[in-house]
Symmetry: C2
Subunit: 414 residues, 2 copies
């Protein structure tokens, strides 16, 4: 018997029928003797409906009151799911974030969880009940209702799993796990049985949007095993008690690691370059300072010294920030006496991720060789301990991803 | 400066526009220097929408979870009203029943308030804030969400007014006060400036549905002055700070009481008679016992001894219970050896109400004489200290009410 925390997102509880189906799945786990805590989001569409009501009154609603408003979305779901469980003869109790004291800081609309009172939940579990908790919400020290921001239900689930010392935190979503790469680009993409927290964090930050980054950080910090599963798979005769999906946990020394776990990519970036900047101490700060002052987030940064004592400086930003960044850079170029500012929005970032590359040399050269063989010109390179990213022309995206997927043997079963 | 508790019902907050208008009205009171606590219901239609979702899952939803679900309705309104106030530069704070500890018993769906923690509200008021509280809801001793049942927001407002020792509790609704009788029946009906709790209780129980009976009982018990006002009246230049409507308070010895305050009537009753019941001790219990066992509520009861040592026994029930009552009575009649059971659904109850009748003789005879003059046959009579009710044929309803309204001078200004 284990203690499982399950989280179901908005589309998984998007209608009464879907809620009934979630109840059926939860029952399957109960019948196998597990203790189950369920965390749910608002029914899909509900948060947008409430937001529209608020914005009819205030373009920028008062943050405290917006939290009071939006938190009703999850409260509706917990009540309906508990009814669906009770109807099936499965004892259940719903709780708002306030009721189980999900204590957060006071930053309305994007609060952070600081503490959870697990006593009440443990008592219900001991009495054989399924406990259904509203995700996304909490309360601050003085009892004000807070919300964790969009997608915060993943974080609620992981925080509850940590507080309850659960054996596993299962995130049910509309995909059945984490893949070696996007199956729409590479049909041979395989679902990974296991990735480490670090790999998942790199993949999430590189654009693979299966889980909220914060929830993975939280799981890593408290060592909560996370599993991504589909809530849309036919549960058939087994009443839905399956354990496939992808397990995300700490690196296991005894397990032989694959060199590379996955290929991530990101089409949302654009690149800006300042050419012929007179090289002098502090030039990087002078270039990036005005960008940061405008709240533009910079991803990759590369600086090369040219032979004529000038330097070329390149960085990438989100495509939405491209025009603004270019204008700022042109101003800065004048001040610094730089030669020229250029830019490109038709680029993509392709990354290989894997904890295995820590202990294996030659990964980078395999990557560069593979791309060279395919005639793909690399524009920028950036590396971290478990990731190598390259920026290439947009038109080479599919070619690059497929070639790398094959070169690192990701299409073969582990 | 006084402390005012205001309550706005579902139609008064039925749209964003109506909520803006409530905010405008509250502002008017604030600008005159009053402290204001506002209690709101769910936006009209919202409770029914939530109920339909629940019943898609369970015909009889689990009471505890139904409360979790329905209580979101008021929570949406408190957030939106607070935003509308803040937008106008009026500091406001919303609170759920849970947050201001509106403690109730644990009878889900029809809980009773036992205690309210007034500290938090007084603190906000002292800081110049308007406090907006969700009506209809509370929490039990162990923190479960409870609701007071439909119309319970009136009771929330009165309970808050009592706990806060407010100067007045104002109930805003879609009528502008309590009338001498229904203006649809008697166009000359006048709005009463003042009625006593007892009169209001009699009128409410006789079918004048302006206020929930429980809220009037509560106000009477704690001596909270209640005022019924319209939230639909044009507030014009004064930004809505008017004090018309009808004040409901304790009897004032110095104030000369009108003999009769109003004429109430009820079209929902039906009458059942058992004729020729052999008269013996306990016969009333033998007749009414089976009716009570079937959870049928009985209103008026009359028993007459006939000359042949039998008795005739008549009572009234709600028309919805008429067929069932008749069937039960026919069974009982067989057992008791009664002659016959008859009944009539085409009856109405007409009542005159007034604390003045306590100290004035002749009220009853004026009533009976008036009806006799109009040729109205009285079928049943029942009296209390401040009320006389008669049952007449349905077709005489308008005639009776108009004649009595004129006979007691209710169409003349007080």
């Amino acid at each position: 018997m284990s203690l499982i925390v399950q989280k179901y997102g908005g589309t998984s509880v998007g209608s009464v029928e879907r809620i009934e189906s979630v109840a059926q799945r939860v029952m399957g786990w109960r019948e196998q003797g597990h203790q189950v805590v369920v965390v749910v989001s608002a029914m899909s569409g509900e948060t947008n409906r409430l937001m529209a009501l608020a914005q009819d009154i205030q373009e920028q609603p008062v943050p405290r009151e917006l939290d009071v408003l939006l938190s009703t979305g999850e409260q509706v779901t917990i009540a309906l799911l508990s009814m669906a469980l009770e109807k099936r003869g499965c004892a259940a109790r719903s709780y708002t974030g306030h009721q189980v004291h999900i204590r957060t800081d006071s930053v309305h609309n994007k609060a952070r969880i600081v503490d959870i009172d697990d006593k009440r939940i443990h008592k219900d579990l001991a009495q054989g009940r399924v406990v259904v908790v509203a995700g996304f919400q909490g309360m601050d020290e003085t009892g004000n209702i807070t919300t964790l921001g969009r997608g915060g239900s993943d974080t609620s689930a992981v925080a509850l799993a940590a507080a309850l010392k659960a054996d596993e935190c299962q995130i049910y979503t509309d995909v059945d796990g984490v893949y070696t790469t996007d199956p729409r680009v590479v049909p041979e993409a395989r679902r990974l049985d296991h990735v480490t927290y670090e790999e998942m964090l790199e993949m999430a930050s590189l654009g693979a949007k299966v889980l909220q980054i914060r929830s993975v950080e939280f799981a890593s910090k408290y060592g909560v095993p996370l599993r991504v599963l589909s809530s849309f798979e036919d549960t058939g005769e087994d009443a839905g008690c399956t354990v496939a999906g992808t397990l995300i946990s700490a690196e296991d020394a005894e397990m032989e690691q694959a060199l590379i776990s996955g290929i991530a990519f990101n089409r949302d970036e654009a690149k800006v370059t300042m050419l012929g900047v007179p090289d002098q101490p502090g030039v990087a700060h002078k270039i990036l300072g005005p960008i940061a002052d405008n709240n533009i987030e910079v991803d990759m940064i590369i600086q090369n010294i040219a032979e004529d004592a000038t330097t070329d400086f390149t960085f990438t930003v989100h495509r939405n920030d491209y025009d603004k960044s270019l204008a700022i850079m042109q101003e800065t170029a004048k001040k610094l006496g730089a030669r020229e500012v250029t830019g490109d929005t038709k680029i993509v970032k392709v990354s290989i991720v894997g904890v295995g590359m820590r202990s294996h040399a030659g990964i980078a050269s395999t990557m560069f060789e593979t791309l060279a063989t395919e005639g793909v010109n690399i524009r920028m390179i950036s590396t971290s301990e478990i990731k190598i990213s390259v920026v290439v022309d947009e038109k080479y995206l599919e070619l690059s991803v497929r070639a790398l997927h094959e070169a690192f043997g990701l299409d073969q079963s582990a």
